[in-house]
């Protein structure tokens, strides 16, 4: 319970207030003590000086002279005057302005009780033995006590004010903090309830609360974007699977009526569906793999040569040409199989979507901090409208709607590039259209 209190803003401010109060108390105590001692010393000093003067009188004129001096001083008495007591050996008073209430001992006495007329008092006393008697000089502590009282009440007031201010501040700061946080809380509650469009209100003050609100809002934007993407993907998947599934149903209906060819067609359709699922899972997997993928050293130049050699026969068979322009000795950290799959997807795209006679070029070069692998061709390319969404799942250029493919190839290329800390982008030059995979060196 207590630890929980100290963790709240209220508790923290109370703690600070208590610390300040303790400091005030300590300073007060020291100041009180120092002042008190200084005033006491001053009283002692006065008593000592007066005693020396009277002892000098005694040396010249004996006790009678001292008695005379005391009487003279008593006649000229004022508020600040000292008190005197002169006794003989038997302790009988010879001259006195006060009656002692405390036994007289030689030396200093801190709290010497006495009565003067009807008034009792406490004083600072110095008793000095004289030939034939004892002289006591007493300074009343009344003024000292008054100053002590004033000091004490002053510090007590300061302490009380400190505590009151501290508690007040704690209540205020606690309330303000709760009020600011409750806005964030309200937004969070609304989002939990399902309204993802809610954002934490900002006051533009650039205070820590405001900055926190801004950060939270950016986080919410990111989450909303991811949710949108997810929704888009699910919609796309549902939409793009409906066509082949409907076709599958039709083929199975035909097969039920005894059409043998329909069985084979249905089989192919099912394979096709499995292929789409495999591609989708692969993309999701590669996207999730970015952090924990086992990286190895990949000889990119050799891989590109291999890929070109692998695909050149198919290019030639389709009446295409495939040339290669790769800087030797390019090495990166990566997953060789995934990179091979990305390149395979690009090469097959070119094969599938360009007319016979197309010239394609696979190249790799270093451009300051990245290695750029480009496959370009002088085929028709894609219209700019389609280009924007070419790397999204199920994105297919309008012109290729009728050809084979599911529009997942480039999405996977991009996922693999991003998984390697790079990106995939379209590249256009005067004669060619292509895709570039940028990989960090």
């Amino acid at each position: 319970m207590l630890t929980r209190l100290w963790r709240s803003t209220f508790g923290i401010v109370v703690l600070v207030a208590l610390a300040f109060s303790a400091a005030t108390l300590a300073i007060g105590a020291v100041a009180y003590e120092v002042t008190h001692e200084a005033l006491e010393e001053q009283l002692d000093h006065r008593v000592a000086v007066e005693t020396r003067a009277l002892v000098a009188e005694a040396r010249e004129g004996g006790l009678a002279a001292v008695s005379e001096a005391i009487h003279l001083r008593e006649d000229a008495r004022n508020e600040a005057s000292l008190d005197y007591l002169l006794v003989d050996r038997a302790g009988r008073p010879i001259a006195a302005t006060i009656t002692p209430l405390t036994p007289v001992e030689p030396g200093y006495q801190e709290h010497f009780g006495f009565r003067r007329g009807n008034v009792t008092g406490v004083g600072q006393a110095l008793a000095t033995p004289l030939p034939g008697g004892m002289l006591v000089v007493v300074a009343d502590r009344r003024d000292l006590a008054a100053i002590d009282r004033t000091l004490a009440s002053l510090f007590a007031t300061a302490l009380a004010a400190m505590l009151a201010l501290g508690i007040g501040a704690a209540v205020l700061v606690g309330w303000l903090t709760r009020r600011r946080l409750s806005r964030i809380d309200a937004t969070a509650q609304a989002i939990i309830a399902g309204d993802l469009t809610q954002r934490v209100p900002r006051d533009g003050s650039d205070s820590e609360f405001d900055r926190l609100a801004a950060t939270l809002n950016r986080m919410l934007d990111r989450i909303a974007a991811l949710m949108d993407n997810l929704r888009q993907v699910s919609t796309d998947v549902a939409h793009d699977l409906r066509t082949p599934l409907t076709r599958l149903c039709n083929q199975l209906d035909r097969a039920a009526t005894g059409d043998k060819d329909a069985i084979e067609a249905a089989r192919r359709q099912a394979d096709d569906l499995l292929e789409i699922f495999a591609a989708l899972l692969r993309i999701a997997e590669v996207e999730g793999l970015a952090e924990r993928r086992a990286l190895g050293a990949v000889d990119l130049s050799a891989l590109l040569e291999d890929m070109a050699e692998t695909y050149r026969p198919d290019f030639e068979a389709a009446g295409h040409t495939l040339t290669i322009d790769v800087m030797p000795g390019l090495h990166i950290e990566g997953d060789r199989r995934l990179l091979a799959q990305a390149l395979s997807n690009l090469l097959e795209n070119t094969l599938r979507h360009t007319p016979a006679g197309t010239a394609a070029k696979l190249s790799a070069k270093v451009s300051h901090d990245a290695i750029e692998v480009t496959l370009e061709d002088n085929g028709p390319g894609v219209p700019p409208v389609d280009a924007k969404r070419l790397f999204q799942r199920f994105a297919r250029a309008e012109a290729s709607r009728t050809t084979d493919g599911h529009g997942l190839g480039l999405a996977l290329v991009r996922a693999i590039a991003v998984g390697h800390g790079g990106d995939a982008l379209l590249s256009r030059s005067e004669w060619a259209f292509g895709v570039t995979i940028r990989l960090p060196r």
Binding site: L274, E285, L289, R336, R337, A340, S344
Partner: protein, 225 residues
């Protein structure tokens, strides 16, 4: 061959068991990992087919336990689609081969055959592969058929070497993609077919007998007769 199938999905289990039984193998089945491990350590199997996800003890743990016990029976692991990490884990865990569901039965059969009769590496001329009248030198990277030199592209050479390492055994398209190209995906283009037809025309130039046999619906094989 005596083959143990450890698979919890009854449809897959029945499909595999029936197929292998019809192919003349003796088949034992198990539905969960613990029982599967118990049966496997009983020994006497030529190959084991294990599903990656199993109740009780999963496929990976089963293979690890088997290998830890010093059992070297060839293991083929089955997994659901989309498991790049699964594949690596499986092979590192001691599985000898890996097959992604759904698969064609011919694929499974070919892989089991290739697993069960692994050729032992031979002595000094281990770099020389001889099947029938074809001799392939892995060091010099040369190929001769009946004493006549055949010049091959690097991929064609690798493809022939893989076929010759497994004489009289069907190599499927996916097996060749994995072993010759190191692809763990299936390209749309028929790169295996294309390269094989080039290899075949180079090998067969001047000979009547086709060096490479196409097994319909399954794959390719070098018989060497």
């Amino acid at each position: 061959m005596r083959i143990l199938i450890v698979e919890d999905d009854s449809d897959t289990r029945a499909f595999v068991a029936q197929g292998l039984g019809q192919a003349g193998h003796q088949v034992a089945v198990s539905e969960d990992g613990r029982d599967g491990l118990f049966q496997a350590t009983g020994g006497g199997f030529d190959a084991i087919v294990v599903d990656r996800m199993l109740p009780g003890l999963d496929g990976l743990a089963l293979v690890k336990a088997l290998r830890a016990a010093g059992d070297a029976t060839p293991v083929l692991m089955l997994t659901a689609v989309g498991g790049i990490a699964d594949r690596v884990e499986g092979l590192e865990g001691g599985a000898d081969d890996y097959l992604v569901k759904p698969f064609a039965f011919s694929e499974l059969a070919a892989r089991l055959n290739a697993l069960a009769r692994r050729p032992a590496p031979r002595g000094d001329d281990a770099h020389l592969l001889r099947v029938g009248d074809i001799v392939l030198d892995l060091h010099r990277r040369t190929v001769e058929r009946d004493g006549r030199r055949v010049t091959l592209q690097p991929r064609e050479f690798a493809l022939l070497a893989e076929l010759m390492r497994n004489p009289r055994r069907v190599m499927t398209r996916t097996m060749l993609l994995e072993r010759v190209w190191d692809f763990d995906f299936d390209p749309k283009t028929n790169i295996v077919e294309t390269h094989l037809s080039r290899l075949r025309s180079k090998l067969n130039a001047g000979f009547d007998a086709d060096a490479i046999e196409t097994v319909r619906g399954a794959g390719y094989m070098i018989r060497g007769e």
